[in-house]
Symmetry: C2
Subunit: 384 residues, 2 copies
C-alpha cells in the first residue's frame, strides 16, 4: 500500500508555524510538499534557535520530508517557474497576512480562474474577513483574545498561556482538515475551493464546555490551576516525592479510590456525589493527600492502575522522551541532519498501510531541490 496522499502535490508558501504544521501533516500522510521560499533567507524559522551545525532544529522538526525551492515571486523569471508549479499542484497553502497574495497577483479569485482544480488554503491570525483581518498576530495574541488564557493558570493569580503554541497548531490542524475535505469534494466536482482558517477562530473553537457554561449562566469561568472545573477528584496530588494525577471521573471510580486509600468517604454526604465533591474539593484534596504523602508517586500510579483508576505522572519533556508508551507508538522521532539527528514528535495519525518509522526524512536546505523540481516540471504529466 502507498501512503494515502501519495498522489498529491502541495505548493507550500508558508512560514513559521501554523502553515508549516498543516503541510507537515500532509507530508506525514505522503503528500509531496514543495516549500517555495524567498531567496537568501527562506522560512524565518531557519534562523530560530536551537541552531546546530548551522541548521535550526526547530525548522527541521516541522519541515521534515518537504523539499525546497527558492523563488522570488516578484521576479518575472521566477514567476514562470512558479506558474509551472501551479499547473502541477493540487493544493497551494500560504499564511501571509490577508491581501499579500492578491498584491502579488496570486489571490484566490485569480488563481481559481487560471487553475480551476487548484485548492487554496490560507491560515492567518484573524482570517480573510472581518474588521481585524489586517492586524498582525502571534500565538499568544489569540490565546489571550479568544479566552483560552482566561481559564488557564491559578485562581487569583495572573493568567498564563498554554505552554504549547496551540494558537498556531490548532489552526494548522483545522486547515489540514479543510484541505482534505476539499480534496474529497474535488474528486467529484473537478473544482478546487478556498479554505480560510483564522488562529483566533481556532482558539475559540476549542473552548466547547466553557462556552456552553458561559452561555447558560452568564458567568465566565476563571482558571482552575490543575483541577478540572466540574469533576472531583480530578487534579494533581502530592505523593512523598512529588506530584501525580488522579482523575476519578465518576462515582464508581471515586468508590474504588476510597477503597484503595482506605478512606471512609463514600457515604459521607460531603463527598457522596460529584456535585458535593466539587463543593468540598479543597477538604477532599487534603484527606487524599494525607494518605498519598506516605508513599512515592510510582507506588500510587501502579496501585491506581491496578484498580482501574485513571492516573499518571506529570512528566517533563525529557521524561516524556523516554516514555515506553510513546516509544512503542513511534512518537519519539528523529530527523537526520548530516551525521547527527534532531528530536521531533512522530506522526500521531497511525494508519494501516502507512509507514510509521520514528526515523523521519530530513528537512531541506534552502533551495536544495531546485534541480530535481525543475526536472520534474519537464516530465510529462497526466494532464496536471
Amino acid at each position: 500500500m502507498t501512503a494515502p496522499l501519495a498522489d498529491i502535490t502541495v505548493l507550500d508558501l508558508t512560514h513559521v508555524l501554523a502553515g508549516p504544521y498543516a503541510t507537515m501533516i500532509l507530508a506525514d500522510l505522503g503528500a509531496r510538499v514543495i516549500k517555495v521560499e524567498r531567496p537568501g533567507l527562506g522560512d524565518d524559522t531557519r534562523a530560530f534557535p536551537p541552531i546546530v551545525d548551522g541548521q535550526s532544529a526547530y525548522f527541521a522538526t516541522i519541515n521534515r520530508g518537504k523539499s525546497s525551492i527558492a523563488l522570488d515571486l516578484k521576479s518575472p523569471e521566477d514567476r514562470v517557474t512558479f506558474d509551472a508549479l501551479l499547473a502541477r499542484a493540487d493544493i497551494l497553502v500560504e499564511n501571509y497576512r490577508p491581501g499579500v497574495m492578491d498584491r502579488l497577483g496570486l489571490g484566490w479569485d485569480t488563481l481559481h480562474a487560471r487553475f480551476p482544480a487548484l485548492i487554496y488554503g490560507a491560515s492567518s491570525g484573524f482570517g480573510h474577513t472581518g474588521p481585524d483581518s489586517q492586524h498582525p498576530c502571534y500565538d499568544m495574541v489569540v490565546q489571550a483574545r479568544a479566552g483560552v488564557m482566561s481559564i488557564t493558570g491559578e485562581d487569583g493569580r495572573e493568567p498564563v498561556r498554554a505552554g504549547a503554541s496551540i494558537g498556531d497548531i490548532v489552526a494548522g490542524l483545522f486547515l489540514a482538515n479543510g484541505l482534505m475535505a476539499a480534496l474529497h469534494d474535488r474528486a467529484r466536482t473537478g473544482l478546487g475551493r478556498f479554505v480560510d482558517v483564522a488562529m483566533l477562530d481556532g482558539q475559540y473553537a476549542i473552548l466547547e464546555h466553557a462556552i456552553a457554561l458561559t452561555g447558560e449562566t452568564g458567568i465566565a469561568p476563571g482558571p482552575n490551576g490543575a483541577r478540572h472545573p466540574s469533576i472531583t477528584p480530578f487534579e494533581t496530588f502530592h505523593a512523598r516525592d512529588g506530584l501525580f494525577v488522579i482523575a476519578a471521573g465518576n462515582d464508581a471510580l471515586f468508590g474504588k479510590l476510597c477503597d484503595l486509600l482506605d478512606l471512609p468517604l463514600k457515604t459521607d454526604p460531603r463527598f457522596a456525589s460529584n456535585a458535593a465533591r466539587c463543593t468540598h474539593h479543597a477538604l477532599l484534596k487534603r484527606l487524599i493527600e494525607a494518605v498519598t504523602l506516605g508513599q512515592p508517586k510510582a507506588h500510587w500510579i501502579a496501585a491506581l492502575r491496578s484498580a482501574g483508576i485513571p492516573t499518571g505522572p506529570i512528566q517533563t519533556i525529557a521524561e516524556a522522551m523516554t516514555d515506553p508508551q510513546l516509544i512503542a507508538r513511534n512518537m519519539i522521532a528523529t530527523v537526520p541532519q548530516g551525521d547527527r539527528v534532531h528530536h521531533a514528535a512522530g506522526n500521531p495519525i497511525k494508519m494501516s498501510g502507512l509507514e510509521d518509522s520514528p526515523e523521519k526524512r530530513p528537512a531541506p536546505l534552502l533551495d536544495a531541490d531546485r534541480a530535481a523540481i525543475l526536472q520534474w516540471l519537464e516530465e510529462p504529466s497526466d494532464g496536471k
Copy 2:
C-alpha cells in the same frame, strides 16, 4: 455548491469528547453523522452540566447537526440494523477502550473483511498498541504525561493544565485528518483503512519547539507563565486598568515599540538583540510597564495596532462572545433546543461554497431519528 462531505455517511459510536469532536468536524463539513447510542442513557455527556430543559448544553454544542439511533450492540435484533448501517456507511468512528469493539465482533479485521470499503477510525487514551494501551484515560492524564503541563503555569509554582480540554480536542482534530486522508485514498483503491489516534500521542505532537530544544540541550524547559520562552518582549503587561498582551516578535517590532512608548532602549546593549532582551526580560518588563501603567488597555491596544505591533486584550469567555471579529467570522454560534438556544463555537474551517450560518442545526434527542434512519435503509442505494 454542496458541502464537501455531503456524500459521506459516518457511523458514530463515540462518546464524551475526543470522538464526538472529530465527528462534529465531519458534520460541519457536510457529512451525514449517525450517532449510534446505547439505549436508555446514550452518550455520557447527555447528563453533563449545564442541563437546560432536560438537555445538556455541553452535549448539544458538540453534537449539533448529527442524528441519533439507540441500538444495543449485544442484541441480535439490533445487530441486524447495525449491519445494515455498516453496509451503507463510509466511515465508522469509535472511542472505546482498545479491545471493546473486538469483543463485540466489530474489530477492524472483522469489519474490513466484511466491508472492505469501510474506513475505521479509533480514538483512545494511549492507542491500540503499546504496553499502556489498556489503561483508562482522561484529558488531564495525557496533558500531564506528555509534558504539556510541565511547560504550562508559573515558574516556581505547581504546573497547571491548559484550561481547554486539548488532550481530547487535539486527538479529535488528528483523527478527522486521518479519516479524510483515508477517504482520498479510498477513491483510488476502493479500500478502507484503520486510523488509530491516541490522546497521549496527540499531546506529544504539539510540543514541537520544546522537543527540539530538549533534544539539543538535554535540559527540559519549565513553565514561563504568560511569557514566550525565547522571544522578548512577548508577554502580558499591566495597563492602568489591567493586563494586555504585547508580542513584539523581532527587532523591527521592538524598535517600533520603543518609539511608541518613547523609551530610549533600541541601542541599549541590554536590549539591542532578542537574545539580550531575553536575558534582561524582567528589567525590560518593568521599564515598559512604567509607561503602560499610565493609560488604560484600550489606549495601548489602539496605539500598538496603529503602529503595526501585535497586541490584544486578554478576554474572558464572556468578552470573547461579544468580540466583533469573532462575530464577523460567524464563530459566535447557537444551537437551537425547542424555543431557546445553546451557545457554541462556529466552524473555524471557512470554505468557498460551504454554508456558514452561526445558527447551527440542533443536536438530536436520544433515538430521535430512528424512523428516518430505518426508512433510509429501505431506500435503494447505488451499491452502498
